[in-house]
């Protein structure tokens, strides 16, 4: 199975819009949404059946037993995450607690337990295709492992030749977890100063992995000069530049109606078809375009 991951660095460049378009165009039978902080792919790829749902457990969370607590304050003093507050008794802030269990060892009254904690919800749709997605529960940290589980649920439930993965913005742990094991990363960027700056950071992050990297520009004609700069940058750094998609006002309505850029004839569709061709070449042989 070849795995294609769509990343961006900056949010809002069009990862999900491009990912859904590529899924439609390629008729991919395996896809996943690894943006567990703010999953959106399911809004475009509408599903008929209910998914198989699973709870995802993160690190344990501390709980102070009020009956045993003697208010000595040692737990609060030793907590490095400001996760213990006094509010009619000593209480753990579940969002701040990182599950380190230091409080349990400094407590002289054995008043603190570590309890299992659900930090995410996984959904696996299995029709004629497999779609794996998940949502991180608000305020949770450590989303990398949830991302890994999303990918695992996908790869273990299909033997489709191509899997397309909608990634998350940023450069942190969930992004790193999503890059692991993929064959190619497509960076969707936009012709803005912010987009360029973030693209550089995501390229730096991606370079540590064996996956091939390619860049495309979304909404390129909103600033053609900046778009040229991005192309030049890719050329200088030896990164495959594989296409530019024009801004399309109708894109928002298409997406709002559960459609993709390839569901409407025009320049956007042409651009995506061109990008797809080059992706296939890179995935199945060529080193660089």
């Amino acid at each position: 199975m070849k795995q294609l991951l769509i990343l961006s660095g900056k949010g809002g460049t069009g990862k999900t819009t491009v990912a859904s378009s590529l899924i439609k165009l390629s008729s991919a039978k395996a896809f996943a949404d690894c943006d567990v902080d703010a999953p959106n792919l399911h809004l475009v790829m509408a599903q008929d059946k209910e998914p198989i749902k699973k709870d995802f457990y993160g690190l344990d969370v501390a709980r102070i037993n009020q009956d045993k607590c003697i208010s000595c304050d040692l737990c609060r003093q030793n907590c490095r995450f400001d996760a213990i507050n006094v509010n009619e008794g000593y209480v753990v802030d579940n969002f701040a607690c990182e599950g380190c269990a230091v409080c349990t060892i400094v407590c002289p009254a054995d008043a603190i337990d570590m309890l299992p904690r659900i930090t995410g919800n996984l959904s696996l749709y299995k029709n004629d295709h497999v779609f794996s997605t998940a949502e991180l529960i608000m305020g949770s940290g450590n989303s990398g492992l949830l991302v890994t589980q999303v990918k695992k649920d996908l790869t273990q439930n299909t033997d489709a030749p191509l899997a397309i993965i909608d990634g998350s913005p940023g450069i942190g742990c969930p992004v790193i977890a999503s890059i692991s094991g993929v064959d190619m990363v497509l960076l969707v960027t936009e012709p803005t100063l912010s987009g360029f700056s973030d693209m550089e950071r995501i390229i730096q992050t991606s370079r540590g992995f064996p996956a091939k990297i390619a860049v495309c520009i979304n909404k390129y004609d909103l600033h053609k000069e900046n778009s040229e700069k991005i192309e030049q940058f890719c050329e200088e750094k030896g990164i495959s530049f594989i296409g530019k998609i024009p801004f399309d006002k109708a894109a928002v309505s298409l997406v709002n109606n559960g459609l993709t850029l390839v569901d409407k004839e025009g320049l956007s569709k042409e651009a995506i078809v061109g990008i797809y061709d080059k992706i296939m070449k890179l995935l199945y042989g060529e080193e660089k375009i």
């Binding site: 660095g9 900056k10 949010g11 809002g12 460049t13 999900t16 902080d37 703010a38 959106n40 809004l43 690190l59 344990d60 030793n78 490095r80 995450f81 969002f95 701040a96 990182e98 599950g99 380190c100 269990a101 230091v102 060892i105 400094v106 991180l136 608000m138 305020g139 949770s140 940290g141 450590n142 989303s143 990398g144 913005p169 940023g170 450069i171 942190g172 742990c173 790193i176 936009e190 012709p191 803005t192 100063l193 912010s194 700056s197 973030d198 950071r201 730096q204 992050t205 540590g208 909103l222 600033h223 900046n226 006002k249 928002v252 309505s253 997406v255 709002n256």
Partner: protein, 279 residues
């Protein structure tokens, strides 16, 4: 007064709103808490004045005192320690800096050293003092950087604008927990409204007074606007999609410096926010 600008979804215009609001005030402190991909300083682009390291304490083992009891390895919930060939190995990047191993060691053989995870950069741009948090690529948690950013606020700073990270994970919570007011920026796609809902739940959970700013509106169906109306979220501004504003922003320019309408809009918005907070 501390105002956080958040969005749930990336790319809706958090930084666009936050930087232009900052520029519209008489004086202001700007905290860029989007430590993975900070962008505010590209717009409020005064020269770099200083850069300070942000570090986390990492354990080190004094091998002459270590007797191989492995209590530290067994205690660590993050698997950041291993005991091999009579030595404790510390895995820096996995360590959460909780200090637990140091506490459990019966021989007092563990001490701590600093490990850099990011920086805080300081700049001044006209009326605004800008502090930018930057997480080193490969690092996981920006929480401590955000804490240090908030430490930069002085009592005499009457207006602080916080550019929060996208999403609703723990770093977003860190960015808003001490603020007085939250502005939720939303774009008119179902992606935008879906993520608006997430971030709305977050601000409600933290009991933060809040209002919405709609950005890049296309004048037709706006699921984000619908969400605001259905949920009684006041809409303080509805900024239409504008190729001109987009181009200025694409070039790293503050629209309030180049476009009179935008200048009026942001001045109005700031006034409205002041009124809301004073109530």
């Amino acid at each position: 007064m501390k105002i956080a600008v958040l969005s749930g979804k990336g790319g809706t215009g958090k930084t666009f709103v936050a930087t232009n609001l900052a520029r519209s005030a008489e004086r202001c402190v700007y905290l860029d808490c989007d430590v993975e991909e900070p962008n505010g300083h590209l717009f409020l682009n005064g020269p770099l004045l200083s850069s300070s390291k942000v570090s986390l304490p990492i354990p080190k083992v004094n091998e002459s005192l270590c007797d191989g009891c492995k209590k530290c390895v067994d205690f660590c919930r993050f698997n950041a320690l291993a005991f091999v060939q009579n030595r404790v190995i510390v895995f820096d990047k996995i360590c959460h800096s909780c200090g637990g191993c140091k506490i459990v060691c019966p021989q007092d053989a563990i001490y701590e050293v600093d490990r850099e995870i990011g920086q805080i950069e300081s700049r001044t741009y006209k009326n605004t003092q800008v502090f930018t948090g930057k997480l080193l690529p490969g690092e996981e948690s920006g929480t401590s950087i955000i804490h240090e950013l908030f430490d930069k606020i002085k009592p005499e700073d009457s207006l602080v604008i916080i550019d929060a990270p996208p999403g609703s994970a723990c770093v977003v919570m860190d960015s808003i927990k001490d603020v007085d007011y939250c502005i939720l920026v939303a774009e008119p796609s179902i992606f935008g409204s879906h993520n608006l809902k997430m971030v709305h739940e977050l601000v409600k959970l933290f009991n933060k007074p809040h209002a919405a700013v709609l950005n890049k509106s296309l004048g037709e169906d706006n699921p984000s606007k619908d969400y605001c109306i259905e949920n009684n979220i006041e809409i303080l501004a509805d900024i239409p999609f504008s190729q001109e504003l987009g181009k200025l922003t694409a070039e790293g320019k503050l629209v309030v410096e180049y476009n009179n309408e935008a200048k009026e809009l942001f001045k109005d918005l700031l006034d409205k926010i002041y009124k809301e907070v004073r109530i």
